[in-house]
């Protein structure tokens, strides 16, 4: 249940030094692979990692959070953690500039993971920009459970669509939207959702991307009475539940709306329980307002 400080962080979380195995450009992003040992076995789709950036004398004091693209144990016992990094800010630019062989400080796995249905269902996965990253491993897991998996990826332009070939194999269909029409349908992911929900008789939507997109998906999923599990993106200082910066107003099991830490009780949350707001004010009805 959601309460202030009442929920423990991911019980598998550990702080480790991880060697960068490879770093390759992929459109506007970098696909980065780290050796993380047995920790890889504990990473689930939806979990994130927090990485120290800038080196030992860096003026950047806070870690950067990244959704896990994929985590796997190789047959030789090596544990691999893969990330898709968008080099926009100084921290992610530093990380994306690292070369194979360098060692970074990683805390993983953190946060909640996507809930996997027990029975086969029809799932629709929706990603915005590099928000597609955690969805491919999720698609594989859902396929293994016998689910139908359709995917929609949207971005401002074609270079910002992250859809690797191996990822495409794990979905029944892939729809692409771009704001500028440089790939797929011109427009936003929310423009194509209603039709896909109806055509594929979707039971559950999984999403990851900017908050405005998650809010739009929630409105559509509510209208169609479809479950919506979303991975939210609120800026974090610590990633381990102590700083209270990454909060969102979320309704708990007891009906009470609390400012809830998205690093501990998220990033994967029930979209229908989030009070989406862009007003920069605490909504009415929140506990302790």
């Amino acid at each position: 249940m959601a309460s202030d400080g009442g929920t423990m962080i991911n019980s598998k979380a550990a702080s480790i030094k991880a060697e960068l195995i490879s770093n390759k450009k992929a459109g506007s992003y970098n696909h980065m692979v780290f050796s993380v040992g047995e920790l890889a076995a504990h990473c689930k789709p939806g979990n994130f990692v927090a990485i120290k950036v800038g080196g030992p004398t860096s003026a950047m004091v806070l870690r950067r959070a990244f959704a896990i693209y994929r985590a796997s144990m190789r047959s030789d016992g090596m544990g691999l953690l893969e990330l898709v990094v968008a080099p926009y800010g100084n921290g992610s630019k530093w990380l994306a500039s690292q070369e194979a062989g360098s060692v970074v400080d990683v805390i993983a796995p953190l946060g909640t993971s996507f809930g996997i249905p027990v029975e086969p269902v029809n799932a629709l996965l929706v990603g915005g920009g590099y928000g597609s990253a955690p969805l491919f491993a999720l698609a594989e897991t859902l396929k293994q459970r016998g689910c139908r998996v359709d995917m929609v990826l949207g971005a401002s332009t074609a270079a910002k669509i992250y859809a690797p070939l191996e990822g495409k194999r794990s979905v029944n269909s892939l729809t692409i939207t771009t704001d500028d029409g440089s790939a797929g349908t011109m427009g936003r992911v929310s423009d194509v959702l209603s039709q896909l929900i109806q055509e594929n008789e979707v039971d559950v939507i999984y999403s990851c991307g900017p908050m405005a997109m998650l809010q739009a998906i929630t409105e559509i999923s509510t209208a169609h009475d479809v479950v919506h599990q979303c991975s939210v993106e609120e800026s974090m200082a610590c990633g381990i539940g102590v700083c209270m910066t990454c909060v969102l107003p979320v309704q708990g099991d007891d009906g009470v709306i609390r400012m809830t830490r998205t690093c501990v009780e998220g990033p994967v949350m029930d979209g229908n329980r989030v009070l989406w707001s862009t007003s920069r004010e605490i909504p009415d009805g929140v506990w302790g307002k």
Binding site: G6, S11, V61, V242, M244, T245, M259, I282, G288
Partner: protein
Amino acid sequence: MSINFSTSIAGRFFPTPIFTASGCAGSGKELSQFFPLTSLGAIVTKSIMIKPRSGRATPRMAETPSGMLNSIGLQGPGIDLFLENDIPWLRDQGARIIVSIAGESVEDYAVLARRLRNIPGISALEVNISCPNVENRGQVFACDPTTASDAISAVRKNIGGELPIIAKLSPDVTDIVSIAKSVVDAGADGLALINTLLGMVIDTNSMLPKLSQKTGGLSGPAVRPVAVRAIYQVRAALPEIPIVGMGGVSSGRDAFELVLAGANAVSIGTATFGDPLAAMSITRELEEIVEARGFSNFSDAVGYAHRMEQA
């Protein structure tokens, strides 16, 4: 040979001088996954208020060069749930507990002191009269000697018994020594120096303040020289008053700097956000440095930078 690394604050014993800073470790549950809380000198809990509090809207945080702004606004469950959940849990861990309290009025501080006076297992009370994230700057008690004194005196009158009071002060004042003297006169047994400094960041893309409530508290290595200065000035003026120092400490070397300025213990705040194990590495490093400098007792290093003035 190992040194005597313990410290005492107002007669309370702590096996090591490294504490957490209020608001940077919650009530310890999260950090306990990374190290046993008994390895800390004490855990200083997030400032608790009488009622549950939602805190401020997001964005609440902005990273700055060698630091960050926060504008949490004292989000917390209120004293009832805190006493019901957090204190028993911390006692079970065997942690030494310093409870931090914050109020919106002098009466709030009196009420909180009465609620805590008979709670077993608490080592001291930190009275936070300096949180910058309040609606009205006039509510920062520690910005004025009279209001600072009123808040501390309300706690002193209501706390009874032996629980030491540590007053947490703001560096955003013209003369921190006069504030320190006023709270000591009002009954503070020790001082916590320093709280964050009020700051602001404007996002040059949106061309608006980055934080929802515009201003926030600046912490991290950027403020360390301010902490060293404040601790040094207060130690010189009040040589007998114990000081819990804090402000941008991220290594044993940094902690030692605050100790030399006059801190009897050092709290770790923002560094924990970057590294949950920061307090542990700082503890190790500080002990090594104190020993390497030739001190056999940690307490002999406290205020050592003042020796030329005393000679």
